[in-house]
């Protein structure tokens, strides 16, 4: 084996380095260096021509001095001279000096390029490599201009040595990155791609980097690389650990090349060619299998190399996001790593799982590791690992585990590192809103957030909690009570004071009955914080005070006293002074009635739509969002839609009144909420400064703002019209009546009945405002395949005017011609205050509506079950319970489905079996259903067998959302 002794070759250099190392002080070092520089300068200037060795030695000393951190302003010419030496060592020092001390001195560049040119054409592989490395290291525009044409030729020439090819490939890569316009691959493309087949693995290793880079820029031209990469990968993966000799690293065949191949494949979608795809899937499976094999060595190098390939393979699997089996296997493998004793592996597993959590195929599998991840958040010593754990918790959060995850994140915030607090706060706020099913939880969470990490709570977060409290009358009392309690703390964050001031100013009356929180107690509490607050908070508090005067006349004298004092009325801040003066005057001269009107409770804020929807709409024009596009977002669906909780009672009301619909009956429970138009004029002026960007504007659906949460994908606001389209559909699978849609303006109720393959649906459109809706029109359309030959829907046009507070009715007649999956769409357009409102909803017409229940005996049931035993006739899902597993609730749902619920059929009494026939005009489809609850695991297994395959699948999908 080669070995070099210390500083062989250049004794003078070794002596100089030793001298420098022996210097006791910085001054001594500088003195020694200056002495050396003087010496070198005199040698270079001397009359006697220096020999190559001396020149090399002095240039090398200059380089050393430069690397110590000193400026070098001479010697460049001598270095360039070395380039034309015939001796390798001299040339090498010359090139090294040029590479390290690049200087765009144009005269030198020409000389350097000339020397490089000579070396490139020298046919001496060592010199060629030196020249190529210099170009790769410098990579200047001038070099690209000079050599971009020449290097591809060297790369593909048949007689080029392997080592030169390696250098040429990467040299070209460097030039392509600095000057892509100068590198013309055109005629070379195919030959470059075929370097993937080169016998020399080193050539492949280098070339693949070039190909990956070029593929990213020109995917079509390079797409033949996919099949070549797959076959190369396949050969490596299936080789024995010793087959590749020089390229086997700790018993792992060609780990770096494998990673690069897997990375190249990530530039492309899954291969279209079935054979190529099959081969690739086989490779990925082999890689996953190998992870389970006992290690061939105990060395960490062995496991690292093996896992490097594994993680890259998992990246590719996630990139494809189309192989459920591989995704779940990947997840299980990462799950094992979560508890590994190596911190590196735990870290990487958390990181990789984060991306797996966003795939619909592996989301559930990721969720099973929640306890381990929470534990990591609590116990990992390395903050970067804890950060990954927090990221993963955020990624795996959905409505089933939101409470747990938010609680863990909050408790982590108490001790979290400062570097990640702000991000954590945003994450908690987003999750709390997105998955809030009850608002007291949401309010608690945000107030806790302010208490624990007030400095990191941005405006948007506290704006948002106020908006939600104002819009939800069921939480206002709770919010007032909670914020009142939070303000008791001797030191509370200014953000808490802001929220407290606003909420008590609006809803303090809701807790004023309790003597412990009487109006005066509330006021004194708020005012005790006043002097510690900044100007904007004080301004907000002054507004709260004037609201108090309206809410609680008994506080008037006290508050007027406060407003009248010099520190308010003569405050040096103009804003505070103006408020104090105006509020004082207002409270003194206005009558109670006027005061009550001016200081009326804030009207609800217009609900804002999710950023995803806003984006979609922007792209396609308002109202043009097709609901099917939103199906992809169904897992993201928010839970803040209050309407969904109100369903059952409404349905009952609707059912009892629907026969005689009239505006006065208000049969769908349209709330007589303060009309928005009126509220706007009366109360908008006082506190809107806090929400200036979100002040009530007329329409809800049309509001498109860039405020809070718009940066967070998939955030959801209450009653956003389209986002919950699938939720809507799911809501009506097992029932026929209820509120289909509700926003600030409009409420739509439905009542429907079905017999055999026919159905009739009543739609009730209620105008919630006091202002007329003009040009009101509705259109029912059947997307895609439904059109005409699957569902036949007829209706009459509705009246074009809907008066404020009024309700109109529309009847749809539906005929099911054959089975279907998509739901028909209902589009509603109208003008409200001049603005066009446009929304599209899915009509809850699902295939199960055409069920006829079938009673049968146990014997018959199992006989038919067996008859429907072809694999495609069966559809099965195993899923977590989203709702109560109570027997009566389940039974009601299964009956609502339209099938017969059969008793005493299944040997296990816990299980449910149902039977029914779906009636379409063209055929009848027999369906059998079996639902097996596992109360302990909170899971279900649902199996459907139908005489038509597509129906099994559709029913299974529909029903899996119901329990």
């Amino acid at each position: 084996m080669p070995a070099v002794s210390k500083g062989d070759g250049m004794r003078g250099l070794a002596v100089f380095i030793s001298d420098i190392r022996n210097c006791k002080s910085k001054e001594a070092e500088i003195k020694r260096i200056n002495k050396e520089l003087a010496n070198i300068r005199s040698k270079f200037k001397g009359d006697k021509a220096l020999d190559g060795y001396s020149k090399k030695k002095y240039v090398c000393k200059l380089l050393f001095i430069f690397l110590l951190g000193h400026d070098i302003d001479f010697g460049h010419m001598e270095a360039v001279n070395l380039l034309s030496s015939n001796k390798y060592t001299e040339k090498q020092i010359g090139y090294l000096f040029i590479s390290v001390l690049v200087n765009s001195n144009s005269e030198l560049i020409r000389l350097i390029n000339n020397a490089i040119k000579n070396d490139l054409s020298s046919r001496n592989p060592t010199f060629m490599c030196l020249a190529l490395h210099c170009i790769a290291n410098v990579g200047s525009r001038e070099m690209a201009e000079a050599f971009a044409g020449e290097i591809p030729r060297i790369l593909v020439a048949g007689d080029t040595m392997d080592s030169v090819k390696q250098s040429a490939a990467l040299c070209l890569l460097r030039l392509y990155k600095t000057s892509p316009d100068l590198v013309m691959m055109g005629e070379w493309t195919s030959r470059v791609v075929h370097l993937l087949n080169d016998q020399h693995m080193g050539v492949v290793t280098a070339a693949i980097s070039l190909i990956t880079c070029l593929s990213q820029k020109n995917p079509d031209e390079f797409k033949t690389c996919v099949s070549l990469a797959v076959s190369r990968l396949s050969r490596i993966v299936s080789s024995a650990s010793t087959d590749l000799q020089d390229y086997t690293y700790y018993f792992v065949p060609a780990p770096w090349l494998s990673c690069k191949l897997l990375r190249l494949l990530q530039c492309y979608p899954p291969p279209e060619d079935g054979a190529v795809k099959g081969r690739l899937v086989e490779c990925l499976e082999t890689i996953l299998n190998k992870a389970q094999e006992p290690p061939k060595s105990k060395k960490v190098q062995h496991s690292n190399a093996k896992n490097a390939i594994l993680f890259e393979a998992i990246s590719l699997i996630i990139h494809y996001d189309s192989e459920p089996n591989l995704l779940v296997r990947a997840c299980n493998q990462l799950g094992q790593f979560l508890q590994h004793r190596e911190t590196n592996l735990r870290y990487l597993a958390l990181e990789s799982m984060c991306t797996l959590a966003s795939s619909e195929f592996s989301h559930e599998a990721v969720k099973t590791h929640i306890e381990t991840v929470i534990n990591a958040l609590k116990t990992e010593r390395d903050v970067s690992v804890r950060q990954r754990a927090a990221d993963l918790l955020y990624a795996m959060c959905d409505r089933s585990n939101a409470k747990q995850i938010v609680a863990e994140m909050l408790s982590y915030l108490e001790t979290a590192d400062y570097s990640i607090r702000e991000e954590m706060v945003l994450k908690v706020a987003i999750l709390a809103e997105k998955y809030a099913v009850d608002y007291s939880w949401y309010v608690d969470t945000i107030l806790n957030l302010i208490r624990i990490a007030g400095d990191y709570v941005s405006e948007e977060v506290w704006y948002r909690v106020i908006q939600i409290v104002i819009n939800r009358d069921d939480v206002q009392g709770y919010a007032a009570k909670t914020v009142f309690e939070a303000l008791q703390a001797p030191a509370c964050h200014e953000n808490m004071v802001k929220v407290g001031g606003y909420i008590l100013g609006e809803f303090g009356n809701l807790i004023a009955g309790d003597p412990r929180s009487s109006p005066l107690v509330q006021f004194n509490l708020l005012h005790s914080k006043f002097h510690l607050c900044s100007v904007p908070t004080r301004a907000l508090l002054l507004s709260a005070y004037i609201k108090f005067i309206n809410l609680f006349p008994e506080t008037k004298a006290t508050i007027q006293e406060v407003l009248r004092c010099d520190s308010q009325i003569r405050n040096s801040d103009v804003e505070l002074q103006q408020r104090a003066v105006e509020y004082l005057k207002l409270s003194s001269i206005a009558s109670t009635d006027v005061l009550a009107t001016v200081l009326e409770e804030m009207p609800p804020f217009p609900e804002r739509e999710s950023s995803i929807l806003a984006k979609l709409k922007k792209k396609k024009g308002p109202g043009a969002v097709s609901v099917t596009e939103l199906e992809d977002n169904k897992r993201e669906g928010g839970e803040l839609n209050g309407a969904s909780e109100r369903g059952p009672e409404m349905a009952a009301v609707a059912a009892s009144n629907a026969s005689t619909p009239s505006p006065s009956a208000d049969l769908l429970g349209i709330r007589s909420a303060a009309p928005i138009g009126g509220a706007l004029t009366s109360a908008g002026s006082l506190l809107v400064d806090v929400f200036s960007e979100a002040a009530p504007t007329a329409s809800s659906a049309a509001v498109n703002d860039d405020g809070f949460l718009s940066a967070a994908p998939s955030s959801e606001d209450p009653a956003a019209p389209l986002s919950d389209a699938d939720e809507l559909l799911n809501k009506f699978v097992c029932k026929n009546n209820g509120v289909l849609f509700e926003n600030q303006l409009l409420q739509i109720g439905i009542k429907s009945e079905y017999r055999q393959n026919l159905g009739r649906m009543y739609l009730f459109y209620g105008n919630k405002t006091s202002v007329q809706f003009a040009s009101f029109s509705t259109t029912v359309s059947c997307p895609g395949e439904l059109q005409g030959h699957i569902l036949d829907i007829s209706t009459k046009p509705v009246e074009p005017l809907v008066e404020g507070g009024a309700q109109i009715q529309q009847v749809l007649n539906i005929e099911c011609l054959t089975d279907f999956c998509d739901a028909p769409l209902l589009n509603i357009k109208f003008r409200y205050g001049g603005a066009l409102q446009n929304l599209t909803l899915k009509l809850p017409v699902t295939i199960n509506k055409f069920f006829q229940p079938t009673e049968m005996t146990s014997h018959d049931f199992f006989q038919r079950w067996k008859q429907l035993s072809q694999p495609q006739q069966e559809a099965q899902k195993i899923f977590k319970a989203n709702n109560s597993m109570d027997t009566e609730v389940l039974k009601a749902k299964l009956l609502g489905l339209g099938t017969a619920l059969l008793e005493n059929i299944d040997p296990n009494p816990e299980n449910y079996v149902c039977a029914g026939v779906i009636q379409t005009k063209s055929q009848q489809i027999g369906c059998l259903l079996r639902l097996e609850p596992n109360a302990q695991a909170q899971m279900y297994r649902l199996t459907l067998r139908c005489s038509k395959d597509s129906v099994s699948k559709r029913l299974c999908d529909l029903l899996a959302e119901q329990f």
Partner: protein, 145 residues
């Protein structure tokens, strides 16, 4: 377009640089700053920590050998373990080449270390991974002295 490796640094515990190989344009002040920052982030970590640190918009993959830290700065999406073993592969080559390499070898033969780097990493990419091939080439070059 992204370069894979941004730089390779070898530093001792006191923060003295034993090799700095840059694959991106930085001016001299910036280089000095990077060197100091890297030293600050890696030296505070212990064996219980990962071998990866987020660094500005990149990440550092590093491994400590005796008193020396070998650090590679790459894109955040790059394969951590592949670079971690890339470092080890490089260290094994140095070890063979210098017969039980020590810090002083890197000091006195700094110009040879650059050659070893260029054989294994070029233009921010992995050029050659076979220790046998690299050592054979280095031996050949050695004979040209």
């Amino acid at each position: 377009l992204k370069l894979l490796i941004r730089f390779i640094l070898i530093q001792n515990r006191a923060g003295k640089t034993r090799l700095a190989k840059w694959y991106m344009q930085f001016d001299d002040d910036e280089k000095q700053k990077l060197i100091e920052e890297v030293h600050a982030v890696v030296t505070v970590r212990d064996a219980k920590h990962t071998n990866f640190v987020e660094f500005r918009n990149f990440k550092i993959i590093y491994r400590r050998y005796a008193g020396l830290y070998f650090c590679i700065c790459v894109d955040v999406t790059d394969n951590n373990l592949a670079y971690l073993e890339g470092i080890h592969n490089f260290v094994e080559v140095l070890n063979e080449y210098f017969h039980n390499v020590c810090e002083l070898d890197l000091v006195f033969n700094f110009y040879k270390v650059y050659t070893v780097v260029d054989e294994m990493f070029l233009a921010g990419e992995i050029r050659e991974t076979s220790q046998t091939k690299v050592l054979k080439q280095l031996l050949m070059l050695q004979s040209l002295e």
